[in-house]
């Protein structure tokens, strides 16, 4: 039994952290979020490194690594707040993999997934209806709808809507006789678990970065002739954040390992990770804002980018309370 990441997993983490810090300083994250038509110059490199297909089997053009490796990478994209086309692509890839069609994302093509809100009906190989709150559609090459159909997003009507987390574009997608290909595959549940877990892992990274910001500030900011971090009202708040971030990371990695190696505990573990990391992300970013004081409330400070991502993640795929209800269902 060994709870440390392997050398390979650590190498993935370290390389990702370094590259993402270099390609996505927060000024670049802001530019991509708030500048109309800004192009993500880092994507080509990310695709070249094989990150979009990290957990896709080699015979479908991926790297053939596990969910745990994906989770390690997702925490780093959260920490960097890197443009999240990666996460939507992972989700699309997981759905397509289940159908044996992950090759559709070869060559750095980006995926998006429409699920949840809105009704869609299929007639004679075409889709009709609309899906709401769809992430990362602008720029996507492949859109998977309700886990059952594949469409070319260019053939649908895409209306972007204002997003709380501006680092990820949010859209309503309308289908009016849009050509669609049916997707086979019976492993969709697995894809949903992987996606929930990737989201949870990202929230761990988001929370970790917010904690780092709070601790740095608490060491440097002086009031009453002392660093504010020497006051227990502040330092205990930071300790609480650490408790939650460490706990969330631990559960997320457990679930990642379970999805790869222990299917009998994978579902419960993923719900646990989803619930704990969602709460952790929201609470820790909110708490970090309190430590930063008025500074954290300014647009100029970067914390709000993390606050908003954490909040969006906590709502994107079902609430923490939903996940806990699924756990209670199994326990009772």
């Amino acid at each position: 039994m060994n709870f440390d990441l392997s050398e390979d997993q650590q190498a993935i983490r370290d390389a990702a952290r370094e590259l993402l810090a270099a390609r996505y300083p927060l000024a670049e994250v802001r530019r991509l979020a708030y500048e109309d038509g800004a192009e993500d110059a880092g994507w080509a490199e990310i695709a070249e490194l094989g990150w979009p297909g990290i957990a896709v089997p080699e015979d479908q053009g991926g790297q053939g690594l596990g969910v745990l490796e994906l989770v390690v990478l997702a925490e780093e994209t959260g920490r960097a707040l890197a443009p999240a086309a990666l996460r939507s692509t992972w989700w699309a890839a997981a759905l397509l993999t289940a159908a044996g069609e992950a090759e559709r994302l070869a060559g750095g093509r980006r995926g998006a997934v429409a699920h949840g809100g809105g009704e869609v009906a299929a007639r004679d190989g075409t889709l009709h209806g609309e899906k709401r709150l769809v992430l990362d559609v602008p720029g996507a090459d492949v859109l998977v709808v309700d886990g059952r159909w594949v469409v070319d997003p260019a053939a649908a009507e895409v209306e972007t809507v204002p997003a709380l987390d501006a680092t990820r574009p949010l859209a309503t997608v309308r289908f009016d006789g849009t050509p669609a290909e049916a997707l086979a595959g019976d492993a969709l549940d697995h894809a949903w678990l992987v996606n929930r877990l990737a989201c949870a892992a990202e929230s761990v990274g988001v929370a970790q970065r917010a904690l780092d910001m709070a601790v740095t500030h608490a060491k440097e900011r002086r009031q009453f002739d002392r660093p504010v971090g020497s006051f227990q009202a502040v330092s205990h708040r930071c300790a609480q954040m650490l408790l939650e971030v460490e706990g969330a990371r631990t559960v997320v990695q457990w679930a990642g390992w379970a999805l790869d190696h222990a299917p009998e505990e994978a579902e419960l573990a993923t719900h646990a990770a989803h619930a704990y990391a969602s709460d952790c992300g929201v609470r820790v970013t909110q708490s970090a804002l309190q430590v930063l004081g008025g500074l954290g409330f300014t647009w100029e400070h970067d914390l709000h980018l993390f606050l908003k991502r954490a909040r969006a993640n906590a709502h994107a795929l079902g609430s923490a309370a939903d996940a806990r209800e699924r756990i209670a269902d199994r326990l009772l």
């Binding site: 300790a239 706990g247 457990w254 190696h261 646990a272």
Partner: protein, 375 residues
């Protein structure tokens, strides 16, 4: 990362289970003295198999087992509802401290009787005026020819009335800064000048004692780790306490949680209770995984400040668990002889004993996050 047990770990667990099925001593009899003798005999049975001091090096009579094996041992004993070993403080704190800081003569003298439970150990750190601010303790050890004469008062001394040896922290240099004038002694409890009085707690039981020292004698060879250097030795003891107990405690949480889930299933759970139960289950998984992760980090060295995080979290979870359980009792929770009422009362101490949650947060803030010291 590989969370599945290795073949040798699985083999150890199976061997242990089979052995426990054969040697389980049965339920602990009522009465303090009878209960203690029961646990002492149980430790002797375990020792005869070579499993007392499981992780101690073989040269000191231990089994030289890995920390994961120690964890498996704790899990299986808890699962089998086997009693605690009588000399738990000697095994988890005293022995490791002597191994880390003691002289060869001390190792030869003290370690074997800890394992055999022939000599029970207790811990004399806290005082009425020195709890969280442990280094402010005032028990004085005055130098005389050949040793030290000790006077003062200790409190929260578990097993004092059964103990032969006390890990005693006393002030040898009143002029030095408070952390630098302390010495770590091994005090012989069987002498005039040492009096233990049971301290009744809110559960009605008396797990703890007050310890009154009035001119008690400690010869020079009772000093561990050097005169005036007791603080760092005491830290070793405390870190071993947090790390060593962490595993047993989290296993107890898993067992209590299963009982709570059974109770909720029997009487039906509303959505609020379902939500809290699920959250507790998640937190219990965090405790379990964190305890194992701590073992991985400790493999190459002494326990670190991360153990404080686990102890703090355990206290929170165990308190929340017993609160939910007693709430489920409804009007019957007013009864004084209820199992969960007792557990709920006992859990109140969890965030105080072995380092208050406030002090643990200080340790995490200062030693893990690197924040400046509190005023």
């Amino acid at each position: 990362m590989d969370l599945s047990p290795s073949p040798s770990e699985t083999a150890f667990r199976e061997e242990l289970r089979a052995w426990l099925a054969e040697h389980h001593p049965g339920p602990t009899p009522p009465g303090e003295a009878a209960g203690f003798e029961h646990r002492r005999n149980w430790q002797r049975t375990v020792h005869a198999r070579g499993w007392a001091g499981l992780t101690w090096p073989q040269e000191y009579g231990g089994a030289g087992a890995s920390l994961v094996e120690q964890a498996i041992f704790s899990e299986e004993l808890a699962r089998a509802r086997a009693p605690q070993l009588a000399n738990v403080l000697g095994l988890t704190m005293g022995g490791p401290t002597v191994i880390a800081h003691g002289t060869e003569a001390q190792k030869a003298r003290f370690l074997a009787p800890i394992l055999s439970a022939d000599e029970i150990w207790c811990q004399g750190f806290s005082e009425p005026g020195a709890g969280s601010d442990l280094a402010a303790l005032r028990t004085r050890a005055v130098r005389e020819d050949g040793g030290y004469r000790v006077s003062g008062q200790k409190v929260w001394t578990t097993y004092a009335h059964n103990a032969k040896w006390c890990m005693l922290l006393a002030r040898t240099n009143p002029d030095a800064p408070k952390h630098r004038g302390l010495t770590y002694f091994l005090l012989d409890m069987e002498q005039d000048g040492v009096e233990a009085r049971p301290l009744r707690q809110i559960t009605g039981e008396a797990e703890f004692n007050e310890l009154f020292l009035d001119g008690a004698w400690i010869p020079d060879d009772g000093v561990v780790g050097g005169v005036d250097r007791g603080w760092s030795v005491a830290i070793t003891t405390l870190m071993h306490e947090r790390a060593g107990l962490a595993f047993t405690l989290q296993v107890d949480v898993q067992i209590a949680l299963r009982q709570l889930i059974d109770r909720a299933r029997e009487q039906g759970a509303d959505p609020l209770v379902r939500d809290r139960l699920a959250q507790l289950w998640i937190e219990a998984q965090v405790l379990r995984l964190t305890a194992y992760r701590g073992l991985t980090r400790m493999r190459d060295g002494a326990p670190g400040p991360e153990g404080s995080l686990g102890k703090w979290h355990w206290a929170e979870v165990n308190q929340a668990l017993t609160e939910l359980a007693i709430e489920l009792g409804g009007p019957a929770a007013q009864l004084g002889d209820d199992l969960w009422a007792h557990r709920w009362l006992r859990a109140r101490a969890n965030s105080i004993e072995g380092g208050t949650t406030e002090i643990l947060k200080n340790i995490v803030a200062e030693r893990v996050l690197g924040l400046p010291r509190a005023p």
